[in-house]
Amino acid sequence: MTSTALSVSQNPFVEAFRRQRLGPYLFVLALGLGVFFVFGPEQFVNAMTKGAIYALIALGYTMVYGIIELINFAHGDVFMVGAFVSLFVLTNVLGQQGPAADPLVMLGIIGIDILVTGAVMGIIGVTIERFAYRPLRNAPRLAPLITAIGVSFILQNIIQIIYGPSPVNTPQIIPPTARVQIGDVSIGWINIFIISVSIALMIGLQAFVGRTKIGRAMRATAQDREAAQLMGVNINRTIAVTFFIGSALAGVAGVVQGLYLGNISFTLGFQAGLKAFTAAVLGGIGNIAGAALGGFVIGFVEVSAAASGLAVWSQAAVFAVLIITLVFRPSGLLGQQLGERA
């Protein structure tokens, strides 16, 4: 804090800019515009869609890390299980094999799918927290990390046993051929759907954490667990709610992933989880808007690498970005300058 106070500029415009903290948003906007103009609008939409999915997963990472300082390694696999639960709901419960007939049915089916998958994944997330993390809340920090790795193995193996090791096709309820023409640019409805759903969820989450009583309890617990407890916050319930929301969002990400790509596999979780965690760190871990921004940055970086013919390097590019960010701006795009914490 002192360092910012010392470096306050005299220029009122610059100062207003600083206070509003618009810099990071402008940076991401510039990155997006760069992708738009260099690689074309289609790649831009593609990057936004991928970024939206990463952002949804990153929200769960950032919330959990913010509240109990745990890198929840199983979160990527929660996302993966979400994709398979969605597959189950679509094919076995709702009996869908391919695109739905008319838009209203389409929205109804996806709505039910999102609600059911979100609820199921939320419950799974709370269960994982209850049995694998809560007993270790006062243990050394490595202990819950190891159980998280264990849970990740368990989830992957269960899905592998049920659905087999090879990728499974999922029904694309919104057909990829359904596109909207703007000028000479054609954008898939699925992209528009994914981007708007995730932005709506992010705004909803921001409002939930900022405005509701449970949201306030979450912020209090994140700041100082013991003090919050003394003020009458039910810590266990608050943390459980955090896990429920984070896992439900990962479940929704799983739903849209299946809808978007049309096939899923049990190994999906690790890579996506890693990128989403990168997004969370990039945005400033513990910060919800930051996770969203980070997700989009990862989307832009990945798609830019792929579009320049360096698809095999896109993963490496993502991590290079992460390492560079951490070295030059360790608190992430939006994170506060945290002191050294034990």
Binding site: Y65, E69, I71, F131, A132, P135, L136, N138, A139, P140, R141, L142, A143, P144, L145, I146, T147, I149, G150, V151, S152, F153, I154, Q156, N157, I158, Q160, I161, Q229, L230, G232, N236, F270, L274, F277, T278, V281, I285, V312, W313, Q315, A316, F319, A320, L322, I323, L326, V327, P330, L338, E340, R341, A342
Partner: protein, 390 residues
């Protein structure tokens, strides 16, 4: 300096006399104890597997080969223990250094690479360690200033990038095919056989483990080792007391990496081929699990933990199938345990952490730490608000 960890560090309350004397001797002559202890273990193991029920699973040769492979992981776990257990830095990409060591050997000793003439294995053990160490410093120098969890994620990223780079720079590494035809070690014109006779590699492995163990024990008791543990306990306090935290952490990182480099050189000489998918993230996680389950910080504990986990993963689960088929137990004989390998492994990790978070063989200090934290949870004496609201 006699209060060090020993393999038999059972509470000396019951049988003081002989056991105390033995432990006293072991404390004073640590290197001797390690050599004798490992020699005894290394000679007993081949004998045990000739007895039933082990002999019914596979012939002795296969067992010895398995033990040698387990030895690679024992080395890795001991190296990671320097970083995670002794210095408290979370490294999730340790397999990267293993890969670097292995590819260094592959490059020096195969027709694909430089193919240096003569017996490259022995000098490469040192060079591989040095190369891995350089990479450890290159990665550590910019990132070790970060807080613990960020370090974890950067190392995780590094662990992902290295196999990717190897996979995609086909010009230097032959990409997904890997590099084959790596020269086997020789001693005085005796070329180590890669199939059939596993003994030369086995003996070499035991010797490598003994050397690494002696060096790591010496490091632990040195000024540097004390600096590591002070950083692990409280970095701010350590810095305030004059420990140069960045250099100390960098040394932990570099030395840990060099052990992985040695393990990599050995691995590629033994397999005579390397390929990028031998060094994926699951290797890093497995080694971390070995360190944690063995008992972080305790060198013998970590070594035993690595050995046990490797055997469970690679031998025991396979034998379960044979066993249940043999006894024709209903239900179990139809279960393919290999398919459930990672499920069982995951359950074991979770259960282990819940039941015994300090690991199987915790170092004394670690155990004491955990007990203090439990005491604190049940209310400090001087704290008027000690009662928990629940």
């Amino acid at each position: 300096m006699t209060g060090a960890q020993q393999p038999s560090n059972a509470p000396a309350a019951s049988g003081r006399g002989a056991r105390a004397a033995a432990s006293d001797f072991a404390g004073r002559h640590r290197s001797m104890t390690i050599i004798v202890g490992l020699a005894v273990i290394a000679s007993i193991l081949p004998l045990i597997v000739t007895l039933p029920p082990f002999s019914s699973f596979s012939p002795q040769v296969i067992w010895i080969d398995g033990f040698t492979n387990a030895g690679v992981f024992v080395l890795l776990a001991m190296g990671l223990n320097i970083v995670v257990g002794m210095s408290g830095l979370l490294d999730l990409g340790y397999a990267a250094f293993f890969a670097i060591g292995a590819y260094t050997m592959a490059y020096a000793g195969s027709p694909f690479g430089a193919d240096f003439p003569g017996n490259v294995f022995w000098p490469m053990l040192l060079i591989g360690a040095a190369v891995a160490m350089v990479f450890g410093i290159l990665l550590g120098a910019p990132t070790l200033r970060l807080r613990g969890d960020y370090l974890a994620i950067v190392t995780l990223g590094f662990g992902e990038i290295v196999p990717l780079v190897i996979l995609n720079s086909s010009k230097f590494t032959d990409g997904p095919n890997g590099i084959g035809g790596i020269a086997a070690p020789e001693i005085l014109d005796f070329v180590f056989p890669t199939v059939g006779n596993p003994w030369p590699f086995y003996v070499t492995m035991v010797a490598l483990i003994a050397i690494a163990m002696i060096l790591i024990y010496r490091l632990q008791d040195s000024r540097l080792g004390r600096a590591w543990s002070s950083i692990r306990e409280d970095e701010l306090a350590a810095a305030a007391n004059g420990v140069n935290t960045v250099t100390t952490k960098l040394l932990a990182f570099a030395l840990g990496a060099s052990v992985a480099g040695v393990a990599g050189v050995f691995q590629s000489a033994k397999l005579t081929l390397v390929s990028p998918n031998l060094f994926r993230f699951d290797v890093s996680f497995t080694v971390l699990a070995m360190v944690v389950l063995g008992g972080m910080g305790n060198i013998w504990g970590v070594a035993v933990g690595a050995f046990v986990i490797f055997l469970i993963q690679n031998v025991f689960l396979k034998q379960l199938n044979i066993f249940f088929d043999a006894v024709q137990m209903p239900f179990f004989k139809d279960v393919d345990f290999l398919q459930y390998q990672f499920l069982l492994y995951g359950i074991a990790l979770v259960a282990m952490m819940l039941l015994r978070p300090e690991g199987l063989f915790p170092s004394r200090r670690r155990r004491r730490e955990l007990h203090t934290s439990e005491d604190a949870e049940f209310g400090e004496h001087g704290d008027p608000l000690g009662a928990s609201p629940e």
